[in-house]
């Protein structure tokens, strides 16, 4: 009897206790930039004596580049260095977390540089200041001239660790460098680092060039150039400088792009006022016709898995975006909004398609899902087009032209980037005017 009583008592006691855990749902947070402190890199005192390499300068520059990269994302807020309390050498060993928390930093980057056998060694650590622990530590050894890339790779690693997304700093951008008056414009192929440094010109500017695109291995570039006044698709090896015409087409070919595996080039071939989409295998040069329609089909772009192709066509009367299987079957129109849609580009993540939209004399860069739903226009301007994705599918780069005066005065073309949220629109500095940008994939992968 006593036992039963006891059991009953315990039962009620338990149910009472289980009620006591309070649960609160947190469904919102802020998207403010994360305050991050990038401490200058500590330089090994012995390496400072090196004759040829001014390592102390390099240390400052590397931390400067990391800081600049973070700032350009709009997701981080690098704190000013004059607020830092701790010296770099001590911070790199074991930072006093309270000191850093005092200036409202949530993450801290510290590093050390040294030179051994003419090789540059860069170590870095990322500290979570709220948890008071190190969350990533890596070291790179390279030739001293490569210091810029090391800074970008470090930025990528930190970005990846804090956002959960791959970085896009160790990348390059190929574009068309423009100069001269509007009527006699000189267009050259140019390549630069993602932050605008290390610009190199790949062609001389004798022929007009347009729409350069990287292949996934970043070694080859396909682009459009004029040959005997006829636009043709070309292939260029960046390292060797060798270039060649793609395919043996009797007429003009344009709007080239690589397949995700890099084995094929997909492009448009025009004949008698009708253009269709073709692919050419780079290895065996086999040409395949993908679309067969009396309208103009152009601007093809593969989905990252290579199973689908989006392109634009005027088969409905107006230029709209369509999606089909990679063999050309199952064509579906995905845009039904007012205005014209062009230059569709499939995101490397596969979840979105970027496009240019023209409506009522305005140009928009926008994104939508591959089924055409969820259209979002990110930016509006007088003239802008040709979006290209960053390798992580987070940022779009495009070019924008300003209105010119009566004699072509005041006309400029510049590269701009924007986050897919529509925030953080910023101009990318180039030496000359620029158009038709294409973003490479990560170089270090």
């Amino acid at each position: 009897m006593k036992k039963i009583l006891l059991i009953v008592f315990i039962f009620f006691l338990k149910t009472n206790i289980s009620h006591s855990l309070i649960t609160i749902d947190i469904t919102r947070g802020n998207l403010d930039p994360l305050p991050i402190a990038v401490s200058p890199l500590h330089v090994d005192p012995q390496s400072e004596k090196h004759k040829d390499i001014k390592i102390k300068e390099l240390g400052e520059k590397v931390s400067e580049i990391i800081e600049k990269n973070f700032k350009s994302t709009g997701l981080f807020n690098p704190l000013k260095k004059n607020a830092f309390v701790q010296k770099p050498d001590i911070a790199h060993l074991k930072p006093r977390f309270e000191d850093w928390r005092l200036i409202k930093a949530q993450a801290l980057v510290t590093g050390k540089m040294s030179i051994k056998d003419n090789k540059l060694k860069v170590e870095f650590r990322l500290w979570d200041l709220t948890a008071s622990k190190e969350i990533i530590a890596l070291a790179f050894t390279t030739t001293p001239t490569n210091w810029r890339r090391v800074a970008h790779i470090i930025s990528d690693k930190i970005y990846e660790r804090l956002t959960g997304e791959d970085g896009y700093f160790d990348t390059r951008i190929i574009y068309v460098a423009e100069s001269g008056p509007k009527s006699a414009r000189i267009k050259k192929l140019a390549i630069m680092d993602q932050d605008g440094a290390n610009t190199k010109y790949l062609t001389l500017g004798n022929e007009l060039v347009l729409t350069p695109r990287f292949n996934p291995a970043n070694q080859l570039v396909t682009y459009l150039s004029y040959f005997r006044n006829l636009p043709r698709v070309y292939l260029l090896d960046i390292e060797t400088g060798v270039q060649e015409v793609v395919g043996n087409f009797p007429g003009m070919t344009f709007a080239p792009r690589f397949s995700p595996d890099g084995k094929k080039i997909i492009m448009s071939f025009a004949k008698d006022g009708n253009s269709d989409i073709y692919t050419m295998n780079i290895e065996n040069r086999v040409v395949e016709k993908i679309t067969e329609h009396s309208s103009i089909d152009t601007s093809p772009s593969y989905s990252p898995d290579g199973k689908y192709i989006c392109f634009n066509s005027d088969r409905s009367g107006l230029q709209q975006i369509y999606v089909m299987k990679s063999d050309g079957s199952d064509v579906k129109r995905i845009t039904f909004g007012k205005g014209l849609y062009g230059t569709p580009v499939w995101s490397p993540r596969g979840d979105l398609i970027a496009f240019t939209k023209v409506r009522k004399g305005k140009f928009y860069i926008g994104v939508m899902r591959p089924d055409g739903s969820g259209e979002r226009l990110l930016t509006e301007n007088f003239y802008q087009e040709a979006p290209s994705w960053s390798p992580n599918g987070r940022v779009l780069i495009f070019y924008r032209e300003t209105k010119s005066g009566p004699k072509g005065a005041g006309f400029t073309a510049k590269l701009w980037s924007i986050d897919i949220t529509g925030y953080n629109e910023r101009q990318i500095r180039t030496e000359t005017d620029a158009s038709d940008p294409s973003w490479s994939s990560l170089l270090s992968k």
Partner: protein, 268 residues
């Protein structure tokens, strides 16, 4: 002897039961009863009840007119009705319309009185029935949504009722953590983004111990984002210290569970 013992025990049991069941109610302060607050939460609508100024009235009237216009665009009057006053329907047409009636409606549902009425009235009846059916459907949908919302609010009321935090206290805590949480951006839109964190708190609201409840998910392949998300949630809790907890009732809130889920926010 045994009878009396059994009686005594059963009465004692009854008494214990009653006390245990009623004890929380007896302890509760009258201020802690929150249902009125929850009703207010449901009734938050797009338009306010506050009497508006003459200027605002104009604007609102304009909006109303626009709304009316939209309604008329969406439901244009049926062309059949327009025909009615102009001409008397031909016998052939009548038959066709009858057929239509049979197709559209279940004949059993038409009352004999209705069948005897004139053709003109019949048409009307058809239309009104259809509209009524539409309205009914709308009502059903509305009822469903109401149900779900009322369920939600009821459960939240229950939670706070059982938890011992009033709604305002809970809201204060929630708002505090909203401000501290920097949501990482590289999250998949379609993944399960729920991070449950169990906290042990000190009396001043500082965190004594924090624990991620689905810890094993962190190291699973393809769940890299989860680790970053969980870390961001932990960071939010640490940044927010001391948490805004009520000055009394420490026993009730010394253990807290926070469910972080940015899904709604990301879909925006």
């Amino acid at each position: 002897m045994t009878k009396s013992l059994i009686l005594s025990i059963s009465f004692h049991l009854l008494m214990i039961l009653l006390t245990i069941l009623s004890l929380p109610f007896m302890l509760r302060e009258p201020i802690d009863l929150p249902p009125i607050v929850s009703v207010e939460l449901i009734q938050i609508s797009d338009k306010t009840n506050i009497p508006y100024a003459p200027k605002a009235r104009k604007v609102i009237d304009k909006v109303k007119e626009e709304e009316k216009r939209v309604v008329s665009e969406q439901a244009p009057p049926s062309p059949k009705e327009k025909e009615k006053p102009d001409r008397i329907p031909l016998p052939n047409e009548k038959k066709e319309e009858k057929k239509l009636v049979e197709k559209k409606q279940n004949p059993e549902e038409i009352k004999p009185e209705v069948r005897q009425s004139s053709e003109f009235e019949k048409k009307k009846i058809i239309d009104t029935n259809q509209i009524a059916a539409l309205i009914d459907k709308a009502k059903e949908e509305a009822a469903e949504t109401e149900k779900t919302t009322s369920k939600l609010t009821q459960s939240s009321v229950k939670d706070s009722f059982a938890s011992g935090l009033t709604l305002s206290q809970e809201d204060a805590l929630r708002a505090q953590i909203f401000g501290c949480w920097s949501v990482p951006l590289g999250l998949p839109y379609d993944g399960n983004l729920l991070v449950r964190i169990k906290l042990k708190l000190k009396k001043d609201g500082t965190v004594l111990k924090s624990e991620i409840l689905d810890h094993e998910r962190m190291n699973k392949p393809g769940q890299k984002f989860y680790k970053i998300l969980a870390e961001s949630a932990l960071r939010a809790v640490r940044l927010c210290q001391p948490l805004k907890v009520p000055p009394t009732g420490y026993e009730k809130w010394k253990e807290l569970q926070l469910n972080f889920n940015p899904t709604e926010m990301l879909k925006g």
